[in-house]
């Protein structure tokens, strides 16, 4: 079999140096999976960015008709859906995949083929969702898909079908990853790495996995109900048939609010790694950081209805959800104070990753404060569904998540690609992003308070929205220029920069103890951990820097075999759903083919040996 052959060859030669398309298609290496996530997330992030720029051009002047209302609705729906499910979540996946095994001293994840399956499902799901543009049927009912606008009666085209089924596919990917990393973090930590010694990024990722595991089943159920409404004539959300649109809102936000923390917690983790390293001082209040993260996640499941104050739930429900929401400000504040405590008294090196981490804190404070403002239902009744809310969640999702993820990108780039990104270009990127971001989103607070609702394709003259919207559009282009500089930086350093050392930043965690980029098996020998900042301890004991780790042959190290069955299985999902969408035209055959592919893929996956056996070599993989 081809897979086994590749596996043998890889072990016989020096594995980790494999190249070629086939090696990528069959890869189960968590580092390559991460790079696949990186490629996909980057492409979708720029797509979502282009959608944002089109939105901003349309809104640059009143009564503009650059794009049609229909297309505008597709743009903001796809911008939101793309940025959440196809950009920020998979960007976090890059670091889950690449960094978690390295930080906990593991050679791979617990289920390497499930990991490959996850990335393929994500890529195919993203393509499925965006393929809708080719048919002029891009989703157009908002990323939140409120019933009953999504019913067959009011959305007769395929727009909502693409959205609903695309999200369902992406949910499979998220759940696969969540199971995988949950087990990986629990089971594959190096000896001595107790839970309270885990790096903060691993902790925040661990909490994210729990959120994913608990939140995604809810949206899955909601989407299945919607699918039945649309394809099989049920009335779960159709009021004329006795259904209830508010049921959708509850289901959606029981998923949707934890989703917010799914988007931000990994960034919390990233900057909790970056700040200590560039302050040369350990994280302040480690335990408080862990428990505040746990507390945020727990409360995150009890606040969903603060998205629904305007539905008129009555004073008791309003009070409960308002106070629960305000409570979240406390652990979030604790995090911010501990970050400042970390840099306080440190010796700060303002390298690019540090700048983005500091930018994160500064911007996230503002997003947090405006969040408290609409935790108060009477005030929220004026703010909800206006640009004030758009400003708020961009301060937490862009000023927060994206700043944090970009900090992570600059920080771990040398580890992932063996090149330190250019500092000067990195700083230009930072300032463009900081200025562009604030110019785009700060005026939105005011334009919202002055009465501009969200999701409107235009606004009339005379309401005073004109000049602020103009500035926002200018800001959006400055922001875009920042990311263009980052792309140029990557391209330039790829070509000209010298190879990065194993530990370019004086790192504290295990990933900096191995070559950049690491070899396929990460650690020739599994390290033993005795404290929270294992690498700093090692350096202190040695009284200076560690010797540059050598690349080794890897003879005798037992790694999971490559496989293409995850890809085949992943491919069955869009096939199945395309069949479902076409069922009314071509009959159920598409569905049959999809299901057959699914079972075929799973069958072969299950009966394929997961490790290549090498006669005479004793396995030394993970357990």
């Amino acid at each position: 079999m081809a897979t086994t052959a590749v596996g043998h060859e890889a072990l016989a030669a020096a594995p980790g140096e494999k190249t070629g398309l086939w090696s990528w298609i069959t890869t189960v290496d968590h580092k390559r999976v991460a790079i696949l996530y990186l490629i996909g997330a980057t492409v979708f992030f720029f797509l979502g960015g282009i959608e944002a720029l089109l939105i901003r051009i349309q809104l640059a002047k009143p009564d503009n008709n650059l794009v049609s209302p229909e297309f505008y609705n597709q743009l903001f729906t796809m911008h939101g859906t793309t940025m959440i499910f196809l950009a920020v979540m998979p960007m976090s996946q890059i670091f889950f995949n690449y960094i978690i095994p390295l930080m906990i001293g593991a050679r791979d994840v617990a289920f390497p083929r499930l990991n490959a399956f996850g990335v393929w499902v994500f890529l195919l799901g993203g393509l499925f969702l965006n393929a809708s543009f080719l048919f002029g049927a891009a989703p157009d009912a908002g990323w939140f898909g409120y019933a009953n606008l999504t019913s067959k009666q009011f959305s007769p085209g395929m727009h909502v079908d693409f959205w609903m089924l695309g999200l369902q596919i992406l949910g499979v990917s998220s759940l696969a990853a969540a199971v995988n990393f949950f087990v990986t973090i629990i089971n594959l930590r190096a000896p001595g790495m107790r839970l309270m010694r885990m790096p903060m990024f691993v902790w925040m990722s661990f909490i994210t996995m729990i959120l994913l595991l608990l939140a995604f089943p809810v949206i899955t159920v909601a989407l299945i109900l919607l699918m039945f409404d649309r394809f099989f004539g049920t009335h779960f959300f159709v009021p004329t048939g006795g259904g209830d649109p508010i049921l959708w809102q509850h289901l959606f936000w029981i998923f949707g609010h934890p989703e917010v923390y799914i988007l931000i917690l990994p960034a919390f983790g990233i900057i909790s790694e970056v700040l200590p390293v560039f302050s040369r001082k350990p994280l302040f209040g480690y335990a408080a950081m862990v428990f505040s993260g746990v507390f945020i996640a727990f409360l995150g499941f009890g606040v969903w209805s603060h998205h629904m104050f305007s539905t008129g739930m009555g004073p008791i429900a309003d009070t409960f959800f308002s106070l629960a929401t305000m409570l979240i400000a406390i652990p979030t504040g604790v995090k911010i104070f501990n970050w400042i405590g970390t840099i306080w008294g440190g010796s700060l090196q303002l390298k690019t990753p540090m700048l983005f981490a500091l930018g994160f804190i500064a911007m996230f404070i503002m997003g947090g404060l405006s969040g408290v403002m609409h935790a108060s239902p009477p005030a929220d009744l004026q703010q909800t569904d206006t640009y004030f809310v758009v400003a708020h969640f961009h301060y937490v999702l862009f000023g927060g998540s994206i700043f944090g993820l970009v900090a992570g990108a600059y920080y771990w780039w040398p580890k992932m690609f063996g090149k330190v990104l250019d500092e000067r270009l990195g700083k230009i990127h930072f300032w463009l992003q900081l200025i562009g971001f604030n110019l785009t989103f700060f005026p939105m607070h005011f334009v919202g308070l002055h009465g501009m609702p969200r999701r409107v394709y235009t606004y009339p003259k005379g309401l005073g929205f004109d000049s602020m919207n103009q500035w926002e559009t200018v800001g959006a282009f400055i922001l875009a220029a920042g990311f263009a500089v980052m792309l140029y930086n990557i391209w330039k350093t790829w070509r000209t920069a010298p190879p990065a050392p194993a530990d370019p930043w004086n790192g504290a965690t295990l990933e900096w103890s191995i070559p950049s980029p690491p070899q396929e098996w990460n650690f020739p020998e599994i390290p033993t951990v005795t404290g929270r900042d294992p690498l700093w301890e090692a350096k202190r004991q040695r009284g200076g820097t560690l010797p540059e780790p050598q690349r080794v042959s890897g003879q005798g190290i037992h790694m999971p075999a490559p496989s293409y069955w995850p890809l085949v299985t992943a491919f069955s999902l869009p096939l199945l759903f395309t069949g479902l969408m076409l069922a009314s035209k071509i009959g159920p055959w598409g569905i049959f083919i999809g299901v057959a592919t699914l079972f075929f893929g799973i069958y072969n996956w299950v009966f394929e040996p997961s490790y290549t056996s090498i006669p005479g070599v004793k396995g030394k993989g993970h357990h």
């Binding site: 209302p69 229909e70 609705n73 908002g142 009953n148 606008l149 009011f154 009021p239 209830d244 508010i246 040369r280 001082k281 350990p282 302040f284 480690y286 335990a287 408080a288 305007s310 008129g312 009555g314 004073p315 308002s322 305000m326 409570l327 406390i330 504040g333 911010i336 104070f337 400042i340 405590g341 840099i343 306080w344 008294g345 440190g346 010796s347 090196q349 500064a362 404070i365 404060l369 408290v372 403002m373 935790a375 108060s376 009477p378 005030a379 929220d380 009744l381 004026q382 569904d385 308070l449 002055h450 009465g451 609702p453 969200r454 999701r455 409107v456 394709y457 009339p460 309401l463 005073g464």
Partner: protein, 382 residues
């Protein structure tokens, strides 16, 4: 109270900043602003917002200040010795957990009070209005007077207006920023909201829940009038027939006009400007003109009558299009899309799918002359 006085001093610093925001808000440049409340509910909401803004500004200055200070203060140079390795401090952790909690209490108490005030049922004898959201316009019904109108809600100053709301098709949200925050409206479910207008004038609002293609063009106006003027408006509306506006006294006709000019209290509004050029004195004369007669015929022939009613009193329920009994006097057409000029009205009648793509009204193949006649006819409905 050391902390208390320090906080007060800090807050007093913020006053100029807050004043600036308020001044900006008061400017006439923002006629739909939540920061220029004109009714009790909006004022409660605004006060609460500024309570949180005050605390938020204080926290912002302290925390961002600490951040910026430490960035400058603790900036290291290459070759600096390793800083002291501090791992945490339990006392400090407790302090910065408790202080935010106390600040939240300061916000939570007025919040809960305001929540219950907002949810109170209005006392006394409120004017009940039924609001029905349609894709993409608003229907208003006054059960007390058996009147129906659309996109322009007339209310008396000084009487609480109690809204019973629903939706015809999908979820919308009724938002009148200067009087009250949003309340969503649903098909098959009643939601409620109340507001009171304190001074006469014209106020704008719009749908705030995404509801399809033309969500962006689903605005409405509220015209607040002195009670006497409101009563004569009601009487006038009751008299409107299919053929034309009621031959009511000119002043009451004018009361329904809404050119943005606030009526002078106590005076009949003879001098007020109608939005369109024709005056009320001309209206009865126009009723007889051949163009108007032609327009009336077209209104029946072209099928307009299938969806639009021309009477406000005891108007049929469940029509697909907005009630047009006083369309000639409204300041906007197509739910805030266009100013109500003859030219715009004619254009809208001829090309609804170009003006507001996706609306139920189809392009009916109305010629330029036919549109002119229809406009002349509709202008008599004021």
């Amino acid at each position: 109270m050391l902390l208390g006085s320090r906080v007060t001093r800090r807050l007093s610093w913020l006053m100029p900043l807050l004043a600036l925001i308020v001044i900006a808000a008061c400017a006439k440049d923002f006629p739909q602003s939540t920061l220029a409340p004109k009714g009790e509910l909006a004022r409660i909401e605004d006060d609460l917002f500024f309570t949180t803004v005050k605390w938020a500004t204080l926290v912002f200055i302290l925390v961002e200040g600490a951040l910026v200070y430490s960035i400058f203060r603790f900036r290291g140079k290459p070759g600096d010795p390793e800083p002291q390795q501090v791992h945490g401090n339990t006392i400090v952790e407790i302090i910065w957990t408790v202080i935010p909690a106390l600040i939240l209490v300061m916000i939570a108490v007025p919040t809960v009070k305001a929540i219950f005030r907002e949810n109170e049922t209005p006392q006394g004898q409120p004017l009940t209005v039924e609001v029905i959201g349609h894709q993409w316009w608003w229907e208003f019904r006054y059960p007390e007077f058996q009147l129906t109108t659309a996109n322009e809600l007339h209310v008396p100053v000084g009487r609480i207006v109690s809204l019973k709301m629903g939706a015809f098709d999908v979820v919308h949200s009724f938002w009148l920023p200067q009087f009250a925050g949003k309340r969503d409206v649903f098909p098959n479910r009643e939601t409620r909201l109340w507001f009171n207008a304190e001074e006469p004038g014209e106020y704008s609002g719009q749908c705030a829940e995404f509801c399809g293609i033309q969500h962006g063009r689903m605005a409405f106006r509220v015209v607040a009038m002195p009670p006497a003027d409101f009563q004569s408006w009601v009487d006038h509306m009751k008299g409107i027939t299919m053929q034309t506006a009621a031959p009511a006294p000119a002043d009451s006709v004018h009361t329904s006009s809404a050119g943005g000019a606030v009526q002078q209290q106590g005076k009949p509004a003879q001098q007020a400007q109608a939005p369109a050029d024709d005056s009320a004195k001309a209206a009865p004369a126009q009723a007889q003109s051949p163009e108007v007669a032609q327009g009336q015929k077209l209104f029946l022939m072209k099928g307009c009558v299938g969806c639009h009613s021309l009477v406000a009193y005891n108007a049929p329920k469940g029509l697909l299009g907005p009630n047009l009994a006083n369309v000639g006097a409204r300041s906007y057409i197509a739910a805030g899309t266009l100013k109500n000029t003859d030219e715009n009205l004619a254009h809208w009648i001829r090309f609804p799918q170009e003006v507001k793509h996706g609306v139920l009204m189809p392009n009916l193949g109305v010629t330029e002359d036919e549109a002119k006649a229809l406009v002349a006819f509709l202008r008599t409905h004021r």
